[in-house]
Symmetry: C2
Subunit: 350 residues, 2 copies
């Protein structure tokens, strides 16, 4: 099967200078893939001309006339930029020309346009942003990482269903454990939404582990971590900030004086391996799950290596049939939710 990925070549902080080399490097390593580079004609052609990659013959271009700014209001991008690189790339997924789309552009605009053009899967109220995060045991699939600031218990259940399907499809985990991010393990902890979500999850057919706390995320306690988009976004960005701070401190200690600098030379292989292991570029690429199409969001500041990883992710999701798996799980969930609803109503009365 050939997988065609539509690339929003203009998106992100660096545009074609990053997206095009990344796409060609991705093609080099992915013989069954094709890419369609969507962007303004001149800058695309300029970057492409510089490359001698033999993979170029699997890359085509698709011209568009405008682009979505990183700080543009999502509603404006949706209404006024009908021929933006982002919109056109998503259109290519909608009409079946491509099986997935990758963009490093404005997250809010990408979500709004993808939702408008592709629509959500039946049974899904709102799409969520999901990512595979590194843990002490491997990886965990966490969602929502920022799409929905106010969630209902039912939405959290839907996130759990989508996260489980993702973990099964991409990580090959048979019945992924699902943790509900809370501020304590006991049932009495948390706010009403989380408590009701726990009831729904218990009544569902998912492999619900129970409440987990923030430190369980990187411990790898569960295969899937579910939370609302506000909490998830803060957790993710706090983590990013923490990694940067620890790098800073480590760097400061290894450059404090000439003796330390010598030690850093000796320690270089270990430090470098450590750095590689936690390199955020390796985990770049968040999935907009719940849509009738595979859409992957790259970090706006990603370099070519980071953007390439987002392309791998999109490719893997198509190959593993993530959309079908989610649709199937949603059907199962809908029955389960119907059963669980009275229980929640009861717990309210009590």
């Amino acid at each position: 099967m050939t997988v065609t990925v539509a690339v929003d070549a203009m998106g992100g902080d660096h545009g074609p200078a990053v997206t095009v080399p990344a796409a060609l490097a991705f093609l080099d390593e992915t013989p069954d893939a094709r890419v369609i580079l969507v962007g303004l004609e001149a800058p695309l052609a300029e970057v492409l001309a510089k490359s001698r990659s033999p993979a170029k013959d699997r890359a085509s271009t698709h011209a568009c006339s405008e682009l979505v700014a990183m700080d543009e209001a999502p509603a404006d991008a949706l209404r006024k930029k009908k021929d933006s690189s982002m919109r056109v790339a998503i259109n290519l997924v909608k009409d079946g020309t491509a099986q997935a789309c990758v963009s490093a552009g404005n997250t809010g605009a990408l979500m709004a346009i993808a939702r408008f053009v592709l629509k959500t899967l039946p049974g899904i109220d709102r799409p969520a942003i999901a990512a595979q995060l590194p843990t002490r045991k491997g990886v965990t699939t966490a969602l929502d990482l920022g799409a929905n600031v106010n969630c209902t218990p039912l939405q959290l259940l839907q996130f759990a269903v989508m996260g489980s399907a993702l973990a099964t499809a991409v990580e090959g985990i048979e019945r992924p454990t699902v943790g509900l991010l809370n501020i304590g393990e006991e049932d009495i902890k948390g706010n009403d939404v989380v408590k009701q979500a726990a009831e729904l999850l218990k009544a569902s057919t998912l492999n619900f582990y129970g409440n987990i706390e923030g430190n369980d995320l990187y411990k790898g306690t569960t295969d899937v971590v579910v939370c609302d988009g506000f909490v998830g976004n803060v957790a993710l960005k706090v983590s990013e900030g923490m990694v940067v701070m620890l790098y800073d401190f480590l760097h400061a200690e290894f450059t404090r004086n000439p003796v330390r600098r010598l030690a850093a030379l000796a320690a270089y292989p270990a430090l470098n391996a450590f750095k590689k292991r936690v390199d955020p570029r390796r985990y770049n690429g968040a999935t907009l799950v719940g849509l009738k199409g595979v859409v992957v969001k790259s970090h706006g500041s990603a370099d070519a290596l980071g953007f390439r990883h987002a392309l791998y992710k999109a490719h893997a999701e198509v190959v593993h049939g993530v959309l079908d798996k989610i649709a199937r799980e949603v059907a199962v969930m809908e029955a389960a939710a119907a059963v669980a609803m009275p229980a929640v109503a009861q717990s309210h009365a009590g």
Copy 2:
């Protein structure tokens, strides 16, 4: 001025085995301090008998008959354990025998008992949990870290006031900048509570920086970071989990083979300095702010070094007159909030 700290000697995972040596070490380094060790007579006497610290003469004991279990429901601890070490230690603050209380016990119980016995300061609806966290620039005062899962905009404003007073009193910062933790810097981001809190903060006399994102926390963008207790607790625990994971990875790389182990020897001074710098024990001790009394919560698993740092924190807050500073700031806030309210009502109508 002599500062007397009441110590819940039975609290935490280790009880007197940790709290008593920590208290004596604290006294060793703090000549103007006294401690009252509150606990069951026998275990206290046993641990005290082992010590030859000259500081022992500034430590007295206060016997009690029971203790609060780490997993006990706060309501039960409050109603049924009138002679617990935790309750008695707080009583000593209430009646003026001690100026501060430190406990490594059950957080929920400590909050419930402290609130019941000491009451909140005028103008404060609910106390919050505040801590000084390390950043790339120094430290930041973050709150609420878990006391309040559902907050109103006005409560977030009150947290900001208390956090500012803490930063001024303890860190000596004249007009601390206050950041509101959100999922984007723009005004349109976040949920309704955060948006309304931003309006209140803008209208207040505080030095409001604006919305900040998760990565700003450890960047040290602002002196004070305000959020609700759910988000704050997750952020704190995710950070803890991240540090443990990175240590793990670093350790794995430096022990991977004999050559790496040799490199670790050369790198030991740098690695050790790094470890010390991010040692969570140095930052142990969260303040229950908003009460008519200084109450500091130590991590339950803290060792003697960690618990000693919680004692330093309690001592510093008394010396710096944190309670007076908060009371003064609250008076200023109440006027500001009265002015800001119409603005919020307006933004609702709009």
